[in-house]
């Protein structure tokens, strides 16, 4: 079968670009390299220097910082002898109490649920791929992590809080709290996880565990679509 051979030339991977569907060969990448589609320029491959240990460390750190960011007050306000403070969840809660339930849910999802789910999924994936037999559920969890990543908007939230701070600073005295610092750290940690994590590497390991590997091929990418 000529088609079969086209799918697994030795050492070279054939991928279809997700941007324009062009089939192309991606040569073996050196750590730190990226490959782009020759026709539309979309990223078709990337290899990171340390695909498992470094992202795992960053994910663990981010989970701790995320807990702090959610528990510690973001900012405190004092005006004429009165004090008020808020946390991330407190912001969504006040929206809910004021009758804006849809907005409150969107805020809670983008600021708390999505980032937390992303980190928990990534932790599960990064721990599971260290085993010699990668369990089959890893694929589904990584897929969930990818979809959560798109909705985690901590950096947008941080800028939003800063704008709110400056607006309120006209009227009262505001102090940024510990939570704010934690959000600032998360804004650095999240992209760091994304950059150091190598999804292709994980997918390749899952393929080994999940599709029975032919004895001679290296990272066989084979499988029949089931209707």
């Amino acid at each position: 079968m000529s088609e079969d051979r086209a799918l697994r030339p030795t050492g070279v991977e054939v991928v279809a670009c997700h941007g324009c569907d062009l089939l192309q060969r991606v040569p073996p990448l050196a750590p730190g390299d990226r490959a782009r589609c020759s026709r539309c320029g979309a990223l078709v491959g990337a290899r990171s220097r340390d695909p498992l240990e470094l992202p795992l460390a960053l994910v663990v750190a981010a989970l701790i910082v995320l807990a702090v960011a959610n528990l510690a007050p973001l900012m405190e306000l004092s005006a004429v002898g009165r004090h008020a403070s808020t946390t991330i969840v407190g912001g969504a809660r006040q929206m809910w109490l004021d009758g804006q339930r849809i907005t409150a849910s969107i805020v809670a999802f983008c600021a708390v649920v999505a980032p937390a789910s992303y980190l928990v999924c990534m932790l599960a994936v990064l721990l599971a791929v260290r085993r010699s037999m990668v369990p089959a559920w890893v694929g589904g969890v990584l897929r969930l992590a990818k979809s959560m990543q798109a909705w985690a908007m901590l950096e947008v939230m941080l800028l939003g809080i800063l704008v709110a701070l400056i607006k309120i600073a006209e009227l009262a005295k505001v102090h940024p709290g510990m939570g704010m610092l934690a959000v600032g750290c998360l804004v650095v940690l999240f992209p760091a996880i994304a950059v150091t994590f190598d999804a292709d590497d994980v997918w390749r390991r899952i393929a080994w565990a999940h599709v029975d590997p032919a004895p001679d091929d290296h990272g066989a990418r084979r499988g029949e679509a089931t209707a």
């Binding site: 979309a42 929206m95 969107i106 589904g140 939003g160 499988g223």
Partner: protein, 214 residues
Amino acid sequence: MTAGLLTAREAGLVTCETCALLLRAQAAHNAGHCPRCGGAVESRRERSIERTWALVIAAAICYLPANLLPVMVTSALGKTEPDTIMGGVVFLWSSGSWPLALIVLVASVMIPLGKLLALAYLLLAVQRGWLGDRRQRTRLHRMVELIGRWSMLDVFVDTFTVALVQLSPLMVVKPGPGVVFFALVVVLTMLAAESFDSRLLWDRPLEQGRADGD
């Protein structure tokens, strides 16, 4: 056909959009689920154009109340004052923080509008089979996907202003009816950008029937 260039569809293959696994296509449309990650595998996303149009139109409808209705209502010492998105920009500008005014203006007014226009343009380009720089259009789609989240900025500004300024009876800020429309514009345009299948930009209209022959 361009000599030497073959798409997965032309080769009778489909790729999983989540994990990039290449599979042999079985049916032209419903190709099933990826054996590796469980995601839906489709050669081209089903009804991508119709779905994206529906989301773009819904977002465009929400765009008007989002900008016309107040997003925050401030009441201080018996006076209540509604605040629209543009009002917030003007407030920041006149209070001297023009870099912030610019950020809010770009994130809240220009990005949502730009996204709607860009998506409508991309959809028309596919439907009318417009010739032109398709690489540029794919890049435009990627940019819309990348930048879209930033228009959530104003929702967060409103949320945290409301949460913090609760000094009743001195001064209380309540969310206005516009904020939910604004949040919906952001969510709907993000979903629209996600449901648009940029591979359609590269399928020439004449080839639609070809790939089904297998």
